[in-house]
Each structure stands twice: as structure tokens, then as C-alpha cells.
């Protein structure tokens, strides 16, 4: 944001008005960034949940059919590719 303001013509960054304008734009940018950061944290949590679900499903499969010959650790897609 500062770089944009510095590149713009006749931006009085050294004046009080310039400081207030920069502050307002930075606040808006910060609010958006904080929101995106929170969403990123949630996405990470979701990824962990999915990973846990995958593990749980595999464990359940392993428990249900221990001697069916298929490798219970591999998912269907992994078995296909193997």
C-alpha cells in the first residue's frame, strides 16, 4: 500500500492528510488480511479433519475386513493406481 501511495503523483505522504489517508487504506487492507488469515486457519483445520476422517475410515475398514486380501491402508484410488 505504501509503495502504491509513494508511486502515485502528488501524494503528500509527509503531510498529516497523507498519514490519515494511508492509515484508512491500511486499516481496510488489514481487516481484509485478518479475515483471509482466519479463513486460512479454518481451511487448515478442515484439511486436518479430512485427514483424520481418511485415517478413521481406513481403520474402520481394517477392523471390519482384516483377511480379505486387500491392503486396507490403501484407498480405492490408490489401489487402482497401484
Amino acid at each position: 500500500m505504501s509503495a502504491i501511495l509513494a508511486a502515485a503523483p502528488a501524494v503528500p505522504l509527509n503531510s498529516t492528510a497523507g498519514h490519515y489517508v494511508a492509515a484508512a487504506y491500511i486499516v481496510v487492507l488489514a481487516v481484509i488480511l485478518i479475515y483471509v488469515a482466519i479463513m486460512a486457519t479454518r481451511a487448515q483445520r478442515l484439511e486436518r479433519e479430512l485427514e483424520q476422517l481418511r485415517r478413521d475410515v481406513e481403520a474402520a475398514r481394517e477392523k471390519e475386513a482384516p483377511g480379505n486380501g486387500a491392503d486396507p491402508v490403501l484407498t480405492t484410488a490408490e489401489r487402482k493406481s497401484a
Binding site: I4, L5, A8, P9, A10, V11, P12, S15, T16, A17, G18, Y20, V21, A23, A24, Y25, V27, V28, V31, I32, Y35, M39, R42, A43, L46, E49, L50, L53, D56, V57, A60
Partner: protein, 245 residues
């Protein structure tokens, strides 16, 4: 939740459109729009503060409209849409309030002016919708939570235009009235910049709304999948939540 909806479709295009419009808006603000003759360079805050406030108020109305969808159909996807719309509008409203406060300090020498109807009415709307989340959190039963929250969202959403009309009729003390019911009182170059900034923030709102809907929808699908594959008990949420499940 009957059926399945995907919210991620078109998110990439929307994100690109948002970034492009936002960059165009910033370029117009700092390279094209003239410096205001009476208030000077500080007026540049106008191009973020006013769109944020407008989009925030529109977001509250949008949340109310989505809530009507829930009450009509009983489909909890509408409740989720309403919840996310209000949640996003609150974020925009807070950003608008802070940027407005900075502008007030720069122009009038005060962070806040209590006898100004425009400022106080916006604060009232914002505080009203700040109670939306605690209201949801206070109701444990998901069905009742959605119903009560929808009624709140509709009443709150209807209050927004009424509030705007009341403020328009009131006497302005210090807050400028550039946008009135009779139209915008801006020079063409400033008007164009303002419209582009407004579109940019509207697109940003739409993108973030879609982004959050995608995230919440994916999370709900993971939970449903877990319930289907591993049983109901494991998939139950850990505690009470304000968000629709």
C-alpha cells in the same frame, strides 16, 4: 440439508474480477480523481469509506432476504447464506466505521461526533447486528436457532432502509451528504472513481461471501460424510455453535 450445492463454482473468476476492479479503483483514486478543492487530500478516504458503508448496509438487507428464503422453505442452506451475509456485512461495517473515524479525525478533529445522525444511525445498525451472533449462540436447538435468527435478520434488514430514510430526513450537522435520494452530487471524474470503487467492494463482498460459503459447505459435507461412514456420535459437533450446522 437436502441435496447438495457447490459454492466454489466461479469463485476463481470472481476473485480475478475482484482483484482487477480493486486495482483499477486504486489507480483511479490515486492517479485520476482530482484532489478535492475544499477538503483536500483527505477526501481520498471517501473512496473506501462510503463503498464499505454502502456494501455493509446492503449486506444486512441481503441477509434479511436470504432469511426470508429460510422461513419460506425451511431449507437450512438459506439460513447459512443469511448467516454468512450478515457476518460479512459486519466485517465491512467495522472497516467502514474505522475508516470513517479516521476521516472524521482528519476533517473535523474528532474521532466521533455524537450529534451527527449519519454516524450514530450507522453505529446503531452495526450494534444491532452485533447481537445477531450472541442471539444464535444463546439458542441450542438448531431448528429454533435458525428460525429466530431468520426473524431477527428480516426485521434488522427491513430496519436498514427505514433508518436511511430517517437519516435523510434529519438535519446534517457536519457529515457531508454527497449521495442523496435525488442522486450523487459529484464531478464526473470523482463519480466514475466512486462507482468503480463501489463495484470493487461489491465484488469483494461477493467473493468473500462465496469463499466462506464454500468453506462452510465443505466442512458440513465432511461432517455428513463422517456421520455416514463412522456413525452419528463421532460426527456430533464438540459444543454449542452460533453458526448453522
Amino acid at each position: 440439508m437436502p441435496g447438495s450445492t457447490t459454492y466454489g463454482k466461479g469463485l476463481r473468476t470472481l476473485s480475478l474480477a475482484t482483484v482487477t476492479t480493486m486495482a483499477a479503483a486504486l489507480a483511479l483514486v490515486f492517479f485520476y480523481a482530482p484532489v478535492d478543492a475544499s477538503t483536500g487530500f483527505v477526501q481520498k478516504i471517501f473512496y473506501v469509506h462510503v463503498p464499505l458503508a454502502i456494501i455493509s448496509l446492503c449486506g444486512f438487507v441481503f441477509g434479511g432476504v436470504m432469511a426470508v428464503g429460510y422461513l419460506r422453505t425451511g431449507d437450512r442452506r438459506w439460513d447459512m447464506r443469511s448467516y454468512v451475509a450478515i457476518h460479512m456485512a459486519l466485517i465491512f461495517g467495522i472497516a467502514g466505521l474505522i475508516s470513517g473515524s479516521i476521516w472524521a479525525k482528519a476533517s473535523w478533529g474528532h474521532w466521533w461526533v455524537w450529534n451527527e445522525p449519519t454516524l450514530v444511525s450507522f453505529l446503531i445498525v452495526l450494534l444491532l447486528f452485533c447481537t445477531y451472533q450472541p442471539l444464535r449462540f444463546s439458542i441450542e436447538d438448531p431448528e429454533r436457532q435458525s428460525r429466530y435468527a431468520s426473524v431477527f435478520a428480516i426485521v434488522g434488514g427491513a430496519f436498514v432502509p427505514l433508518n436511511y430514510l430517517a437519516v435523510s430526513a434529519a438535519t446534517a450537522y457536519v457529515h457531508p451528504r454527497v449521495l442523496t435520494l435525488s442522486g450523487a452530487h459529484l464531478p464526473p471524474s470523482m463519480g466514475l472513481t466512486f462507482v468503480v470503487a463501489l463495484i470493487a467492494f461489491a465484488l469483494l463482498y461477493a467473493t468473500l461471501w462465496k469463499y466462506e460459503m464454500t468453506a462452510k459447505n465443505t466442512r458440513a459435507q465432511v461432517r455428513r460424510l463422517r456421520r455416514t461412514l463412522l456413525g452419528d456420535d463421532i460426527a456430533r459437533p464438540a459444543g454449542r455453535s452460533a453458526a448453522p450446522s
